[in-house]
Symmetry: C2
Subunit: 217 residues, 2 copies
């Protein structure tokens, strides 16, 4: 079912579809058209049909997509039908905030361990987890079969943490430190630096509000 | 110079180029090839040349791109050569964490005001800002000419906050609440929900680690 040709842009849209579909299911809506999806998600319906067609023939002409079937398929494609344990490194404000998201991650994906290098933080309770020292990182990753690491440490420490995560067998990293990490090619890195989000958002600010160009808009 | 046809995917890559280019400039490297950019950023060099060609003819064959010229151009395209003020609504752990990023946002884009609905938070100092009550949101946005809002409130409050931001004249929103916001079409919304980042990352986990499929990898 899975082709290696699926672009990152498509993969990144799937969780967005999933979130909206889950919302429909909660409201007991059982079918949805690509038009409705498109309108809600600000995407071209043809783009949505193309995205979903990568993974098989889900839609039925004139009826649309079966919501619960599509949820199941996307969950499978994204491997969200497996238990995936996640380690969070860096128990600062951001680490605290992210650990609160456990509730949204549903039962199959969970932050199961939190680490910090700063001694006074070790032993603190964050939600139901106890902050562990960095010295326990490798053993805990192996013992819990943790596959994804989240880095929320200061940028000067991020590469060092990434190295330890990779050495401990992690397969993917979500990096919140505003630095570009060097890792082996088989490790997937997503940069979650919010400054790039903000900067790309600035592109869409309205041009020349008080200027003559206004009329070109 | 700006075409309305530039896709969001391209716009989202520009800050990533910018970050790498700033890093090169710090190291006093004055030219860079699309090959080097591609290797560093895990992108096809042809893709990078195509991305940058949208905005004009920057590169010189056999020499590459002039780093400081390219930085200047991307900053202009992203409107980072203008002062852009940002309001942050929600002074919880995530709000605290994000306000720390002001240092990375450089001088032209800045979080200049923080708001919270929870009375005991009002008046608190976060870095150099004082948390303001929600009742001051509209006036402050207008007084400071704030153009971008960041939402870090609980999901049940996110739509209400978005409505107030829009009514106060904000043009773009970075939304960290895991809900889909309804706003007028001329308001740009980026969802920064990290659960979608994590979920798309799961797609790249290695298949069938302990299974027969292993050999297909």
């Amino acid at each position: 079912m899975k082709s290696d040709k699926i672009s990152e842009a498509v993969v990144r849209r799937l969780p967005v579809y999933l979130r909206f579909l889950n919302d429909l299911q909660k409201r007991e809506i059982s079918t949805v058209s690509s038009q409705e999806l498109g309108q809600k998600l600000d995407l071209n319906p043809a783009q949505i049909r193309k995205d979903l067609a990568y993974f098989g023939d889900f839609g039925r002409k004139g009826i649309g997509y079966d919501v619960s079937y599509l949820i199941e398929k996307i969950r499978h494609i994204l491997k969200l039908d497996q238990q995936i344990n996640v380690a969070l490194v860096g128990a600062g404000n951001l680490g605290h905030a992210l650990s609160n998201y456990n509730a949204y991650l549903k039962d199959t994906m969970k932050i199961t361990a939190i680490f910090d290098a700063y001694e006074p933080k070790v032993g603190q309770q964050i939600n139901s987890l106890t902050v562990q020292p960095m010295s326990e990182l490798g053993d805990t990753i192996r013992a819990q079969g943790i596959r994804i690491g989240i880095i929320t440490v200061p940028d000067s420490e991020a590469q060092n943490v990434a190295d330890i995560l990779v050495d401990s067998g992690i397969e993917a990293i979500l990096n919140f430190a505003p630095v570009i990490l060097k890792t082996p090619a088989n490790i997937r890195i997503h940069a979650a630096d919010f400054t790039t989000d903000l900067q790309s958002l600035a592109y869409y600010l309205h041009d020349g509000k008080d200027e003559a160009e206004d009329e070109q808009q």
